[in-house]
């Protein structure tokens, strides 16, 4: 922990059993998502004749309607969902922090215009716009990527090339990450702005200004380190929000597309094979459990972090 945090955050966090359990669970899920495939070697896209096999030793989570191994699918879903959540949250972090910093630091009329804009965006139903945007841009992005092939770096005999055609299968995910990141930054911007407003009148900022430091330096050397803790808290709370939005879209069939899977698509598949005649419960309950545990852990961790960094927020 560096000096910008209030003293003893880590020790306070360590005393919170819920937070520690959440941290350990998150570690386990991350490890099994990214390292699991090296231990449990099943291809998530390999179809077989063994349809709807209940959980067994060979297939711990059973198999789905195409005979694919459900555990491998859940691990792939975890990779994609976590990746989308993390990168979407990082984009929203960059956009929101920059926006909030500028708005709060410049102040005055600029500030009120910028915040009015955020208010307008708040009242727009974001998920609906998101649905429309992914549907509208996906095809164009695919067409554009298809056939794009160029070498951008040559060192000796090694060529780094950008091969658009091989990425065509992943356009939906890229678009999802971008649009989710560009949609979830509003709260971050508001919080950062509020913090900057209260910080910029403090003496150390006035001192820096009196010493003739540039605005850029004041923002990055003096203001930003003081924002770090609050930004980290909201990052842990933005990740589950982005994961949730992504799986919402995928559940509706408008997000991640086959053959790739995310938790949303797995849940949607799972809920379709539940019927009174024959219910293949393992296709629903396992993805549901893994996803719930992840989201729970992230939210508990975010809450605990907030308590640890800002004891006043605790009632």
């Amino acid at each position: 922990m560096n000096a910008t945090h209030p003293p003893g955050v880590w020790s306070r966090l360590r005393k919170n059993p819920v937070a520690m359990a959440a941290l350990i669970l998150l570690g386990l899920i991350l490890a099994s998502a990214f390292l699991g495939p090296f231990v449990f070697r099943a291809d998530p896209h390999l179809t077989s004749r063994e349809q709807f096999v209940p959980p067994s030793l060979a297939h711990p989570f059973g198999t789905d309607n195409n005979g694919r191994d459900a555990l491998a699918r859940v691990m792939e879903g975890a990779r994609i969902s976590l990746l989308v959540g993390l990168s979407g949250a990082l984009i929203s972090l960059v956009v929101g922090t920059t926006y909030g910093l500028v708005s709060g630091y410049v102040g005055g009329r600029t500030d009120s215009t910028m915040m009015r804009f955020v208010e307008i965006l708040y009242s727009v139903p974001r998920l609906i716009i998101l649905i429309l945007a992914t549907a509208a841009f996906d095809h164009r992005f695919k067409d554009w990527l298809n056939g794009v092939h160029f070498t951008f770096l040559k060192i000796g005999s090694i060529h780094w090339t950008f091969d658009g055609t091989s990425m065509v299968g992943y356009t939906k995910i890229i678009i999802l990450i971008l649009s989710l990141g560009l949609i979830e930054w509003l709260t971050m911007a508001r919080i950062v702005r509020g913090q900057v407003l209260s910080l910029k009148n403090l003496q150390f900022v006035s001192a820096a200004r009196a010493l003739g430091q540039s605005h850029v330096k004041i923002i990055f050397r003096h203001l930003f380190p003081n924002l770090l803790s609050i930004v980290i808290i909201y990052l842990t709370l933005t990740i589950p929000a982005v994961i949730l939005d992504e799986s919402f879209l995928s559940f509706l069939g408008l997000g991640v597309q086959a053959p790739q899977a995310s938790w949303g698509t797995l849940l949607s598949d799972g809920s379709q094979v539940i019927n009174p005649v024959k219910s293949f419960w393992w296709l629903l309950l396992f993805p549901a459990a893994v996803m719930s545990v992840t989201l729970l852990a992230l939210n508990f961790l975010g809450d605990a972090l907030r308590d640890a960094l800002d004891p006043r927020s605790r009632h």
Partner: protein, 304 residues
Amino acid sequence: MLVVLFCVVTVTFFLVQLMPGGPFSSERNIPEVTMKQLLARFNLNGTPWEKYTIYLGVRPNASGHYSGLLEGDLQLSTKYRNRSVKELLGNSLPISGMLGLSAFVLATVAGVWLGTIAAVRHNTPTDTTAMLAALGLISIPTFVTGPVLVLVFAIWIRLFPVGGWGSYSCLVLPSITLAGPYIAYIARLMRTSLLDVLSQDFIRTARAKGLDENRVIYKHALKVAILPVVSFLGPLAANLFTGSLVVEMIFNIPGAGSFFVNSILNNDPFLLEGSVIVYCTLLVLLNVFVDVIYTFLDSRIRLE
């Protein structure tokens, strides 16, 4: 408010124009003349700008009439031929409304009740458990709780129907699913706010003059503590609306939510735009409505 609506309509319209293919491109072998007539009949001729102005109703369409949004015409659906968007939405909106309303009532009543209990029994195991459960409920999305509830209460224990629409028992599981996260959210909001109010001076006065605890809480404290919940009702309604997309899909409810997804998949421009407009209008109206209620409840706001 109107600015927001106008922006949404415009952005939606042009995003739909960007979608690949036309509404009739899946049907093969349509002669060019027929195609032209089809497009003309559905007011889909011309440049995007022409289509946009015809849709708004500030430019006459192919048959020379002004018939667009300003005149209250939402055009025809290109998928369900000969049925207007208005008719389709008119049939399905009451169903979505019914579902939304029951979830709304459930979320508010249960949330306020649970939050009050947690605040009154502050720092007891009841409080801690309730708040942990609430955080749990907030984290788990409806598309997890919905199918799991179906599995447990409709398939393993055959208590409620799996899905569909028609009887009151069909309403139980969808409403619980839809309201779940918001029960938890309102309970947390209510608890924080009530704890805040209970530490204020006028509550001490009420206790000092010998009112019994129930009267203090239910007559004096609740009235003030409920304000944050009221201001959340607008966003709540908004969230219930978007949430109903998924819930209607899980439970096979023929509501308006399914039009969103299907009209994107079927490339049905006017149905999509119509649903977006109706949803956004409802959301904006609800927000205004909540603002009005708020000023009535909290007289301090009017004074400022």
